[in-house]
Symmetry: C2
Subunit: 127 residues, 2 copies
């Protein structure tokens, strides 16, 4: 889909900048699984079910249930009963989640450009 070419050092340094920025940020820090789930819900075509997400990420269903609970608590996703099969629960996007991910994307883009709050703010000597 995208088609960006990077070398190893570029790739890792982008990752590092975004990762460190993420850790420092006041934003609710999501676990790797929660983040993976959130991104999947927003970037892959619906519908998204607990079962499907669990298989995709190769984790247990309860883990997905918990992640969805946490994310919906933060209002980053929404749960809705499936009318055609009421055993299923559809995990859907929210406005807040869209905003959150848009900001996260900016963070990654800034990292890819070589910017970071820390770098911008100075702090040259040891770190």
């Amino acid at each position: 889909m995208s088609g960006i070419e990077l070398n190893e050092l570029e790739a890792l340094d982008i990752w590092r900048r975004a990762m460190v920025a993420g850790v420092r940020a006041d934003a609710p820090d999501l676990s790797a699984r929660q983040m993976a789930l959130l991104l999947t819900v927003y970037l892959r075509p619906p519908p998204h079910t607990v079962r499907g997400l669990a298989e995709l990420m190769k984790v247990s269903k309860p883990a997905v249930t918990r992640a969805v609970y946490r994310l919906s608590e933060l209002q980053l996703v929404r749960r809705k009963a499936d009318d055609s099969d009421r055993r299923s629960v559809l995990i859907q996007r929210t406005v807040r989640g869209s905003v959150f991910l848009r900001e996260y994307a900016e963070l990654i883009i800034a990292a890819a450009r070589g910017e970071t709050e820390a770098d911008a703010g100075g702090l040259p000597p040891r770190y």
Copy 2:
């Protein structure tokens, strides 16, 4: 340093692919902080101390101590007493850590290109 230009969707989809791959992988799943720490040790010029890393990531020193313990348990980093100041501990790279990050870099690069094990392996319909 790098200078890559991405748009939001590209950035997020790269992140998603790498994140999902990371969650599924058999690799020891590191927390965001552990990963940020590991990347910093390998990509920023030494020396690296507990204090310095804690300040950089804006977390408590014990958090760094624990992360270093966990990472050295996995042999991804190494602890060495500083001879010039024996209160300090220097966190250093290891062969295994280099290999690990090289593989991780490949994962990101593949994601940036638009590849994924899942995509390559088929699995077209719902996910």
